[in-house]
């Protein structure tokens, strides 16, 4: 029997007002904020995400995983205020978030320390919790509106070109669809394909450092108010940030070879190493790193002996100057990622805008990366609202310029500050250690200046 099998082209061509590339926190916040706004909710918006997100995010809220996930970020009060204003914050799993009032930073070389206190200075949230809360809010908004935001998950962008007549960006998607849009927004991360399409340069450098992350539980020895701890070691800061129920999220920024070593330890050794990292002197740490690198069988014993020695010398009153020891690791939570600074030359081109990591990446030492992205979204939504009520073409640079001129200088300052802090602390060069320690001691006793810094960190100083 002769049969002709014909394959019909199933591709569909769609036209949207806005296409958001990337279903991370930035992309989902942007979509939710636009659908929440009475001025922009009528816009036709597509969100294209390479991975599967809908089912995993829904099930995160329905049946939360027993352990904390290792991708945890610190949200500023300003970010939470924004998430609340678009109706998303109440959709988060609140039991899995931890706010805290106090951040203690201390110098690994000189011991100089600084306390930042501010009610709810920051709140620790798993990024999946952020995404899940936003998606839940988005579903709610979609159920109330005629023009729904369309999420195309598990779909990759295979090419971006300009329409020959309208000059609008036209995307070819891995599912065969093509999508033409008035405005293309790249929330697509550090290697942003949208940025490459727009021909926008991004400049910066690698810190030649890795961030090693893991989730621990503190030893249940005494009650402590949740506190953020950050110790500046010459190789980079080691931060322990609080999660609910005595858990803690660690980010240890360090050299590539030490990161390699930290990932190669077994879990018991790794626990001891982290406790050593928060307490022992840099000289002792160097020695312990060498033992670990040479796979010495004495490693555990050495660390334990030195930690006991440290505990013995510590006056009871000074105990709360250090975080509690960690006693348990969430299995499989250990991972690493490279640290870099980058800043795009511009955030907007005709019919293109960049948001979040696509526009800038920073050192995680002040937990500002995701929050900067949220400020971007807030600003871009404001610009699009103004443009919409003025009847502008929202893809036009006239509509987008205010977003760039508002955010680029602010981000540039923050990126620069983060960079300087990293550089000042990445040394054990004695005069610089003395200078920074003197500076920190003076700063710690100067209320108004410190308040200003706390304001900047918590995002409360402006607007």
């Amino acid at each position: 029997m002769f049969q002709v099998i014909r394959r019909f082209a199933t591709s569909v061509s769609n036209v949207a007002d806005i296409v958001i590339i990337g279903g991370g926190p930035a992309g989902l916040t942007l979509g939710t904020a636009l659908k929440n706004s009475p001025v922009t909710k009528h816009l036709k918006i597509h969100l294209v995400e390479g991975g599967k997100i809908i089912e995993p995010l829904n099930s995160f809220l329905e049946t939360p995983p027993p352990n904390y996930l290792n991708r945890v970020v610190s949200l500023t009060p300003s970010t939470i205020g924004f998430l609340d204003s678009i109706g998303a914050w109440s959709h988060f799993n609140q039991e899995r978030t931890q706010s805290y009032d106090d951040i203690v930073t201390y110098d690994g070389v000189s011991g100089a320390r600084m306390n930042f206190e501010h009610p709810d200075i920051a709140t620790m949230v798993e990024t999946t919790n952020i995404q899940a809360g936003l998606l839940s809010r988005l579903n709610e908004l979609n159920s109330q509106q005629e023009v729904k935001l369309v999420i195309q998950e598990d779909t990759k962008v295979t090419s971006i070109a300009k329409d020959s007549i309208t000059q609008w960006p036209t995307l070819k998607l891995s599912n065969g669809d093509s999508l033409t849009c008035r405005l293309l927004v790249g929330c697509d991360g550090y290697n942003s394909p949208v940025r490459h399409f727009a021909g926008i340069e991004s400049r910066g450098w690698s810190y030649n450092r890795w961030g090693v992350v893991a989730t621990f539980k503190f030893a249940d020895t005494e009650f402590r108010f949740p506190t953020g701890w950050q110790r500046f070691l010459p190789t980079g800061p080691l931060a322990l940030l609080p999660l609910p129920n005595g858990y803690t999220s660690m980010v240890w920024s360090t050299t590539p070879e030490l990161a390699e070593m930290l990932l190669s330890l077994d879990e018991t050794e790794f626990l001891s190493m982290v406790n050593a990292g928060t307490r022992l002197s840099t000289e002792e740490l160097s020695m312990i790193y060498d033992l670990a690198k040479s796979k010495s069988p004495d490693l555990l014993e050495q660390i334990q002996w030195r930690l006991n020695l440290f505990a013995g010398k510590l006056k009871p009153a000074d105990e709360e100057n250090f975080p509690l020891q960690v006693s348990e690791i969430v299995t499989g939570s250990r991972a690493r990622f490279p640290l870099k600074l980058s800043h795009a030359d511009t955030y907007v081109e005709d019919r293109v805008a960049l948001v979040g990591d696509a526009a800038h990446t920073t050192h995680p030492l002040a937990g500002q990366g995701l929050n900067m992205g949220q400020e971007d979204v807030k600003s871009l939504v404001g610009a699009l609202e103004r443009a919409t009520s003025r009847g502008l073409d929202i893809g036009n640079s006239l509509a987008l310029e205010p977003y760039f001129s508002e955010r680029w200088p602010q981000n540039h300052v923050l990126l620069g500050v983060m960079d300087k802090i990293h550089k000042i602390y990445s040394t054990d060069f004695a005069p610089l250690v003395a200078a920074r320690s003197f500076g920190v001691d003076v700063l710690n006793s100067l209320g108004p200046i410190k308040d200003f810094m706390v304001g900047r960190i918590s995002g409360n100083s402006k607007r």
């Binding site: 009528h42 309208t166 000059q167 008035r182 003025r390 502008l392 640079s397 006239l398």
Partner: protein
């Protein structure tokens, strides 16, 4: 600096002289060169694109602030509280915010229910016409102009945007040639135009005939004062050369007070057919161009450029 004006090079001298909206030939001859770059927001028309932002703000703000929030609401429970005083000066911030917030929500609801028809007189390349057409509350827009070149630019450009394509029509026509029996609009605009026509009063009268009861006419032009001569003619044409020499004629500038008085004179006119009787000045605002920033509203309507809104009684 002001680009929306009449162009007759293709219509001929006779027609030009017969039109109330006629503009001098010297002023008109600067159009063709502008047509090609009309829509380049970074090109020579940037200043006009920036001006358009304020026009839209003025239209939005004026219409929104005149919405009757409790119109047709008889149930006192449903009525929005509108205090007879400025809440921001008298009440604690939280309470003032709540009162303002409730008003804003109702205002937004009423605004979104509007379905406006708009007529853009002297539409030029269509910058304002397209902006109006993109508003969800605008049903349709007609742009009229007397220059075939710029209308062609407008017609080509609207094809690029599916959002405005269906809502927007352009016509080569003078306002006095539109049939007032069929051409009735909620919003009539005449921006940066009166200062270029030879008989502004006649043009205005012709425009008033196209405003529906309860509708609006939005005007902008330039005060005849030293400052505007300095900015628009001396700096704009001679020094910075932002616009071609001869674009403006100082004598044609109209003071805000004169325009206001023209409307009031109509109220005193014994001729019952004078349409001016049905119009009130609903608001006016000055504006100024700041280099490196763009246009900015000012409180002084008697200096430089200004906007004015006339509202026709319901």
């Amino acid at each position: 600096m002001h680009h929306l004006r009449r162009q007759f090079s293709h219509v001929g001298r006779l027609l030009q002289q017969s039109k109330l909206t006629a503009t001098s030939e010297i002023e008109m001859s600067h159009f063709n060169q502008l047509a090609s770059t009309w829509w380049d927001v970074n090109g020579p028309q940037r200043i006009l694109h920036k001006m358009n932002l304020l026009r839209m703000d003025f239209i939005n703000d004026t219409i929104k602030s005149h919405l009757k929030l409790n119109k047709g609401v008889t149930d006192p429970e449903e009525q929005i509280y509108i205090p007879p005083f400025n809440v921001d000066n008298v009440l604690p911030k939280e309470i003032a915010d709540r009162i303002n917030g409730e008003q804003e929500i109702r205002r937004q609801q009423l605004w979104q229910q509007l379905k406006l028809d708009a007529l853009d007189i002297g539409c030029g390349g269509g910058i304002l016409s397209e902006s109006l057409a993109r508003l969800p509350v605008v049903n349709r827009v007609k742009g009229i102009d007397l220059s075939t070149e710029v209308l062609e630019v407008a017609r080509q450009h609207k094809k690029l945007d599916p959002m405005v394509r269906e809502k927007l029509t352009y016509e080569l026509k003078a306002v006095e040639d539109l049939d007032p029996n069929t051409e009735q609009y909620d919003v009539v605009t005449m921006f940066e135009m009166l200062e270029h026509v030879n008989y502004p009063a006649e043009v205005l009268k012709a425009a008033l005939r196209h405003v529906k009861p309860g509708g609006w006419i939005f005007i902008s032009t330039i005060n005849r004062d030293l400052i505007s001569w300095f900015t628009t003619i001396f700096m704009g044409e001679h020094i910075l050369k932002i616009v071609p020499l001869g674009t403006h004629t100082y004598d044609k500038y109209i003071n805000e007070k004169e325009l206001e008085k023209w409307v009031e004179d109509g109220h005193e006119n014994s001729d019952l057919g004078d349409l001016r009787k049905q119009f009130e000045v609903a608001g006016s605002k000055g504006c100024v161009y700041l280099p490196c920033y763009g246009w900015k509203f000012t409180d002084n309507v008697e200096v430089g450029n200004y906007f004015m809104a006339l509202k026709r009684r319901d």
